[in-house]
């Protein structure tokens, strides 16, 4: 199966490991993720006022690019991109007047016909079936205990979420299918502080402390998530957390696609662990999920 894929701004930088591992593990499942040509940044957060169309232009422009390929689906990895693209898609589907205005404004593009569906990669995996994913596993993640973390935009608001907004199970189902153990973390839906990481890093550190400490205290070895902004706030901001809370113990953050790539036993360079703030490699070696003799990318 070939499907257009929308990376979004941060998968080319801090989310590099997310993208690499996703493309490689999708290939194992016979899914070819083809980067959407000429994609534009979705704007990251959806505009929440009724009278603002300007900020819906970028998401709709991307959907037009999909339409121009004569495709009907667009897959995202980043939860934020997913939510923003889907919200704008829903807006124009439900409001022909607004769609007309936007089509007229973007007169250089073809008119958007609302025939594109926005999907999160996790939804695609659910469609394929976790049993089928299980069949491809070469190295089950035995002995690894994980704390799934959804954050906000993957599940809320519920019209734009991929799972139940209060009791989602999709990440649990995937991680279990990959052979890992899962803990219950009541903070799995709590916000990581999102864009406040720019102007209120202390607030982000407070929120991160709760999420990560609960996971650590409940026996989790790492957190698993699907958003590069959550990843930055919960991984890179551990430096600030440590500064604010001296008792804090670091814990690695992993993208769900990195877990898949690990379980599918793909090359280490497909995993993208080299840009993590808290290095997950020692943990994975301890659990014998990475072999010691392999040279690390950062040591090259």
């Amino acid at each position: 199966m070939k499907i257009p894929y929308f990376p979004g701004c941060s998968l080319k930088t801090i989310g590099e490991g997310f993208e690499k591992s996703a493309i490689a593990s999708a290939a194992v499942l016979d899914i070819e993720l083809n980067e959407l040509p000429r994609w534009v940044c979705c704007g990251t957060v959806s505009s929440l006022t009724t009278d603002d169309l300007m900020h819906h232009l970028a998401p709709v422009r991307n959907l037009i690019r999909v339409q121009d390929l004569e495709e009907t689906q667009l897959v995202t990895l980043c939860s934020v991109c997913y939510s923003t693209l889907k919200r704008s898609n829903t807006l124009v589907k439900n409001d022909p007047e607004k769609l007309k205005t936007m089509n007229q404004f973007m007169y250089r593009e073809s008119d958007y016909q609302c025939n594109v569906k926005v999907l999160h990669f996790l939804e695609l995996l659910r469609e394929i079936g976790f049993d089928k994913i299980k069949e491809k596993i070469k190295k089950p993640l035995r002995g690894l205990t994980l704390s799934p973390y959804y954050g906000c935009l993957l599940v809320r608001p519920k019209e734009f979420g991929i799972d139940d907004p209060e009791t989602p199970t999709i990440l649990q189902a995937l991680t279990k299918a990959l052979g890992a153990d899962v803990i219950d973390n009541p903070y799995q839906l709590k916000c990581c502080g999102s864009y406040h990481t720019v102007d209120k890093p202390n607030l982000v550190a407070d929120l991160g402390y709760k999420i990560l400490t609960y996971a650590r205290n409940s026996g989790a070895d790492a957190l698993v998530l699907s958003c590069p902004l959550c990843a930055f706030n919960l991984d890179n901001r551990q430096r600030e957390i440590k500064r604010q809370y001296p008792d804090f113990v670091e814990i690695p953050i992993l993208y769900f696609t990195q877990l898949m790539a690990l379980a599918f036993d793909l090359d280490e360079e497909r995993l993208g662990f080299d840009i993590h703030y808290v290095d997950p490699v020692p943990l994975l070696k301890e659990k014998q999920l990475l072999i010691d003799s392999l040279p690390l990318i950062k040591e090259k």
């Binding site: 941060s10 940044c41 704007g43 957060v45 929440l48 906000c152 999102s194 930055f232």
Partner: protein
Amino acid sequence: MSKTLKLDSEDAKKFAAKIQERSGEPIDMCFQCGECSSACPVSPEMDLMPSTLVRFTQLGLKDELINAKTIWVCASCFHCVARCPKGIDVAKVAEALRQELLRKKLDYVEVRDLSMEERQEIPQIAIISNLRKFSR
């Protein structure tokens, strides 16, 4: 300290109607159950609880609302709307209130004020979303 609030003034009604329209939320449906405030993960940082924000919006208390810290603390995480029995999205109300200032050229965050270290460390996704929320 007590303060006398002027209710039922024409200006207050107009402001309430404006925020209701701009947010697209049925603000008048709120009956102050407080679910949003208890769900909000950042409410400890707020001066007005999310439920109070909605109540004040019903009353059109413009000065109290646009000077509230709350509108700049909201992280648009949508915990409030997930819990609201009336389905009111308080994040949308906060955005409509922020826009009241941003559209008058009052930026909350100025991108040029970020230090070079911050620019090097913080990823695009954070800077872009922050500017979308906090600058005009």
